[in-house]
Chain length 230, copies 2
């Protein structure tokens, strides 16, 4: 799924509320309409949008009533700072048939009541562990982003001591963020290839940048070799 | 900042493009308008919305032209699965004056050209390390979410072997997701307190759930004690 599409979907408050409800349990249109205080017509139009996007699916119960549930598992990460804006959508592939670590042969029908109780409690403990671990990871990511943003500020300052003219400044700043091709640099900075090329050659001679070849393209990046980090 | 507010903002393609441009470098209205092929009036209205939300700020250059730049650093995480929908917004506090690990006394003016070159390359190396680490963390989080979703499926199956009636099923499912109060359970499940209370008492007697007291409230959760996880 295109992350932009998901952001468009999540940009509507009622659609967010619908997703929230369905993440709790599968729901009928009438339930959603009642809970949100929004007419069924509007709900149906949101639901079909979500269905088309592949986020939810529709099933029919014994009384032939339609209900909706979430099909996918995904994680959207948006990070924004004075130096970067990134949107990443991870599709979490999960095997719907794989139920925890229960052996396939051991079906739940064959589990005695006591066994399934112990099994349930074990699964729950593991679930809580995973939650804790998830929070830890989120915290680590936050710390990383803080350090990244501060460091980027430091780099910007020190570029001034390295670059000999404004074009070099711009090039080093671009390359700090990402390795890049000549064409991408010209496009992003709106500079003529001859100017960019001359500056790149000069910066490379002075030992600040280097290139590597990938898929027959030259990618320029800040030198990493020979510099020890503490 | 309210995560819902941020999702509303990101729900518009042109606003996303503006943020993308500003994350690259501070921009004038005319630049943004030209790059996006959108009239300045519309751009100005998006910019003032972003400014009101505290995402960007406006400054004036030497020629008295207004330019805009991103002020905050933040991370938005949305995760969605058949069993959960969570939106978390981390505000990344960073100290704009803190530039990498440069000592405060050691101002860039005092750095010799050679020193600042080495310093720049060092900062860049650290920056690349942080990027790699960030990708590793994102991958770990993805794996966690996969395991979580699969495990949740397993738990749902084993609830059937534990619960003695539909109300117990619903209660155990709610508590698997989060510890909860009697009031929240009644509200979410639309069940009368007397019914919920009776079931909770019974489940507690059978050793499946327990409560703890926080802020004078009883929070019910699935028992974790005495069960060893592998």
């Amino acid at each position: 799924m295109d992350p932009a599409k998901l952001l468009d979907i999540l940009g509507n408050e009622n659609r967010r509320k619908i997703i929230q409800l369905l993440a709790n349990r599968p729901c009928y249109v009438s339930e959603i309409s009642g809970r949100l205080g929004v007419g069924p017509k509007a709900i149906i139009s949101h639901l079909s949008l979500l269905e088309q996007a592949g986020l939810i699916e529709c099933s029919v119960d014994e009384q032939r009533r339609k209900y909706f549930n979430i099909v996918n598992s995904m994680r959207l990460e948006v990070s924004m700072s004075p130096y970067a804006y990134t949107v990443v959508l991870h599709d979490i592939a999960f095997d719907r048939e794989k139920k925890g670590d229960i052996p396939v042969a051991e079906k739940k029908e064959t589990l005695a009541r006591e066994e399934s109780s112990i099994f349930f409690l074990k699964l729950n403990s593991r679930l809580q562990e995973l939650k804790t671990r998830q929070e830890e990871l989120a915290q680590m990511q936050q710390q990383l982003q803080t350090e990244y943003t501060e460091l980027m500020g430091g780099c910007l300052d020190s570029i001034e001591g390295v670059a000999e003219n404004p074009v070099e400044c711009e090039l080093l700043f671009e390359l700090l963020k990402n390795e890049s091709t000549l064409a991408a640099l010209c496009y992003n900075l709106r500079l003529h290839p001859s100017i960019v090329n001359a500056s790149l050659t000069d910066l490379a001679k002075r030992g600040f940048i280097e290139y590597s070849v990938k898929n027959n393209q030259h990618y320029w990046k800040i030198c990493e070799t020979g510099v020890e980090t503490e």
